[in-house]
Symmetry: C2
Subunit: 197 residues, 2 copies
């Protein structure tokens, strides 16, 4: 145990996800010897995230005003909504430059074991958006794992009566990967989804 | 890239030791959805470490006043000084409850490859303390690695003319460990230092 302030900081850091007692101690001693300006910047950045960042009232992505940058952008089209689990998935898809429509962030995936059902996700808000009539395609880009697949299946069933085109991102071999290291489910999906060249 | 404040926080967190881009993002999103009171506490703890914590003017351990808790404690004796590299080593030794003397924190170990020589450590200050005459034993508790051994050897040579008892912590098998998993140097030391029972 250290004296007062340094032990308090170790305790607070230890509460963060992925920071164990050893890393908390290491970070605390780094802070102790760091430039006061850098520490001030970190502590201000923490406060500002709480004060300024909220969730877009349309798509629930992170935003600094009522709507996020993407929902506000008039150069993007309203014909397709790409449904993802988390804001970080929006960032990942934006990096590809492949999509120019809008997003909808569910805030997670259906996971009965953790008590997360459809009502805990932003599904009702998605349904309201789909009723606008402008949207022609719903792209289901939830994670390719059990919870993500379950959520995509659930959404596909709900949306079907609306006559929209509903798509799911392709599963297959990761580019740059080695065929022999692919797991059997991925390799199976790659076969299923094979395309003529 | 995220909007403003959240990206700033990811960038700031990414500068901390042992926090990569993925963990920085994970912590930033945790902060975003955390209780504002918890975030305030963390940001205050960061500031307080910079404002309140300094180094003990006697032993260079972390302290909140001019002297650290151990140097101020009148129930501890002044006959032995235990020399360690870092404040965290003081904490480790205090946990054993084996030592009731004082400490001296060098602030590192001699490491020519990283440009750390004797002048970069608190060795001059240690020599001044030893001249008080009260001290009978100097316990060298630097790390049992190349840099720690070099530092201990250097200190032993410097202190020898003063006629003090100079000791080094025992090397040997860790308690609770498996003999077969001990590396050969540790096992060699354990043989060397074997004791009659």
């Amino acid at each position: 145990m250290y004296e007062g302030a340094i032990q308090d900081l170790i305790d607070e850091l230890g509460r963060l996800p992925g920071v164990g007692p050893k890393s908390a101690q290491r970070i605390a001693f780094y802070v102790l010897s760091a430039d006061p300006v850098d520490v001030k910047r970190l502590s201000m950045a923490l406060q500002r995230v709480k004060d300024q960042v909220r969730f877009c009232t349309t798509c629930f992505n992170v935003a600094e005003s009522e709507q996020c940058r993407i929902c506000r952008d008039p150069r993007r089209h309203d014909e397709a909504i790409c449904v993802v689990e988390e804001p970080k998935d929006v960032v990942a898809i934006e990096k590809t430059g492949e999509f120019r429509g809008r997003y909808h962030v569910l805030g997670g995936a259906i996971n009965p074991l953790e008590g997360i059902g459809p009502d805990n996700l932003r599904i009702r808000e998605l349904m309201t958006r789909l009723q606008s009539g402008e949207i022609k395609e719903l792209i289901l880009a939830t994670d390719p794992n059990t919870e993500g697949e379950a959520t995509a299946t659930y959404l596909a069933l709900m949306v079907k009566p609306m006559g929209l085109r509903v798509t799911r991102l392709a599963s297959g071999l990761p580019v740059g990967g080695d065929l022999e290291y692919a797991d059997e489910i991925t390799l199976g999906r790659a076969f299923e989804g094979r395309r003529q060249i």
